[in-house]
């Protein structure tokens, strides 16, 4: 029996396996070295970086829901400068693919970030988080307005030669329109999906369980929605898709692969089991053997 090939080429980024830790759930990667060997996972995406450091949203910021969680961490991050000077030197030592997630409050901020990050050594790809409030449009999200999405992707594309991944918001009527807009404007790949907007209320205090009232729903609860959106995108665009949403088992990885994902990201489950990315990586080849598949790549989009 041959060892199945689980390495994938994601828009020019060579991943030793398709398992990437998702933005906001893996810090800057380094803290996870207590739990796993980063050299055994496909890669990780950093917490979202902004031009300036941000303190983020008031607390409480998280709560649990059935098979999921809500978060409103918000923009909390160390900022570009500190990221480059104090995080990147450590990150560069790590033997895994590094994708930097970034966001702005204006189109100009996005472009400046893409420009600056383009120059930073040791970054294998950039992931634009467009599920952020657009201060110039009354706080509505970049990623739910088609023309804004086209524009910001187009301009960021021009600002960097690194592989540019756009992370789509699921809080739209038709995610395919947005996937196509990304493809048409030069994105190298899309990540699908970010969190769904949700809310939970404490019935005793009558207050929302999150200070910001609403937050992003993640975890196994959203998996069926994510699989559907990945499959819709796969049927409509040619650029590779990173599947994200509720992945907890190696079977889930195959499910997303069949739906059309070239690689996948694991988010919430990193909290439940900080070694999960490494564990699932070890389980992948054996499962492919069981399924009689030589090359993970052969499964991409193969749902009938």
């Amino acid at each position: 029996m041959n060892t199945p090939n689980i390495s994938v080429n994601l828009a020019g980024i060579n991943l030793r396996n398709p398992i990437i830790a998702a933005s906001g759930t893996f810090g800057y990667g380094l803290a996870f070295q207590n739990f796993l060997d980063l050299g055994n996972i496909g890669g990780f995406v950093t917490k979202g970086i902004s031009l300036k450091p941000r303190v983020g949203n008031p607390d409480p910021r998280i709560c649990e829901t059935p098979s999921g969680m809500l978060n409103s961490i918000g923009l909390h991050n160390v900022g570009l400068e500190k990221f480059i000077t104090s995080k990147m030197p450590e990150i560069r030592k790590v033997d895994t693919s590094v994708i930097v997630n970034f966001f702005g409050e204006t189109v100009e901020e996005y472009v400046e970030l893409a420009n600056r990050l383009d120059q930073v050594e040791g970054i294998d790809g950039l992931e634009m988080n467009i599920s952020c409030p657009n201060v110039n449009k009354g706080g509505s999200s970049f990623g739910t307005d088609l023309s804004v999405t086209c524009n910001v992707v187009n301009l960021c594309r021009k600002a960097t030669k690194k592989p540019l991944i756009v992370k789509l918001s699921p809080n739209v009527g038709d995610i395919v329109e947005f996937a196509k807009a990304c493809e048409d404007n030069g994105a190298d790949a899309i990540s699908a999906i970010n969190t769904l907007v949700g809310m939970a209320i404490d019935i005793k205090s009558r207050k929302p369980l999150l200070a910001k009232r609403t937050g992003g729903l993640s975890g196994p609860a959203i998996k069926p929605i994510a699989v559907r959106m990945v499959n819709e995108c796969y049927r409509s665009v040619k650029i590779p898709i990173i599947g994200i949403g509720g992945i907890a088992t190696v079977q889930d990885i195959i499910e997303f692969t069949l739906a059309g994902a070239t690689a996948i990201q694991i988010g919430t489950m990193n909290f439940v089991d900080p070694a999960i990315c490494e564990k699932l990586a070890a389980e992948l080849a054996p499962l492919l053997n069981e399924l009689g598949v030589d090359n993970l790549h052969d499964l991409i989009g193969q749902v009938s």
Binding site: F26, G56, R61, G219, F271, V272, D273
Partner: protein, 258 residues
């Protein structure tokens, strides 16, 4: 980290104590640190539950959790029986400072807040400088007092319904102790936030440094989710309770000063 349940002891209605043996030694536990406990294996409940380490052996071969049933996760944990497996991460956080000068250290606790002080007592960290002031609503909920007295540590208790010890709040008991014995050099506290707030103002008034063990909802327990933050006093910035805490100097956190 895989652990085995050695004992599950009911302490009072809704309170139980788990004695736990890690399959591999846990290095360097400090009193006041906590672990993240996985409850079951399905996605309900999804997140680990943070639990303060109560009694522990310095060699990391055994520790205990004192748990109050407050919801689905703690209820499931209460069903554990000896021999069951428990998946635990940690120890996390900074714990109570073990190397304080001062001659008089008072630990002021409410309910399950007594837990972290068991580790201090068991490992005799402060010798005879240490004293416990414990409050509860009623005598039945004064947990683990003999654990301290058996080890020669003075315990002064209060109950809101006057069923045992001083009748009133534990902060009033602290006031009373200060009046009769003079103020301590430092105080530690763990318990309901309302109690800790009240104690923070007592500490402030008497100018006593107070180390408080805080709680918040937690997803990861080791500083990466940024979910467990609390606001710094007088600053528009947040701490993570899990990594910068859970023990803080009371003057540093806004929630204890409002």
């Amino acid at each position: 980290m895989n652990c085995i349940i050695l004992k599950n002891q009911k302490l009072a209605e809704g309170f139980f104590y788990l004695s736990i043996k890690p399959k591999a030694l846990i290095g360097g536990i400090k009193a006041g640190q906590f672990v993240m406990v996985r409850v079951g294996t399905s996605s309900v409940p999804l997140l680990r539950r943070p639990m303060g380490i109560a009694d522990f052996k310095v060699d990391g071969s055994e520790f205990g959790l004192l748990i109050q049933i407050t919801g689905i996760g703690t209820r499931l944990l209460s069903n554990l029986v000896p021999g069951d497996n428990l998946d635990v991460l940690g120890p996390f956080g900074n714990g109570f400072p073990p190397d304080l000068k001062g001659e008089k250290i008072w630990a002021v606790a409410g309910g399950t807040g007594v837990a972290p002080f068991m580790g201090i007592a068991a490992n005799n960290i402060f010798g005879n400088k240490f004293k416990l002031l414990l409050g509860a609503r009623s005598a039945d909920f004064l947990l683990q007092t003999s654990f301290f007295s058996d080890r020669g540590i003075p315990v002064d208790v209060s109950t809101e319904d006057s069923t045992k010890g001083f009748g009133g709040l534990v902060t009033e008991l602290v006031d009373k102790n200060i009046k009769s014995n003079g103020k301590p050099d430092v105080m530690f506290t763990c318990g309901p936030i309302s109690m800790m707030k009240a104690l923070a103002s007592v500490a402030d008034e008497h100018n006593i440094p107070l180390y408080a063990s805080l709680e918040n909802r937690m997803a990861c327990g080791f500083g990466v989710c940024l979910g467990c933050v609390l606001k710094k006093q007088n600053e528009d910035r947040f701490f993570t309770v899990c990594r910068k805490g859970p023990v803080f100097l009371s003057s540093e956190v806004e929630i204890l000063n409002t």
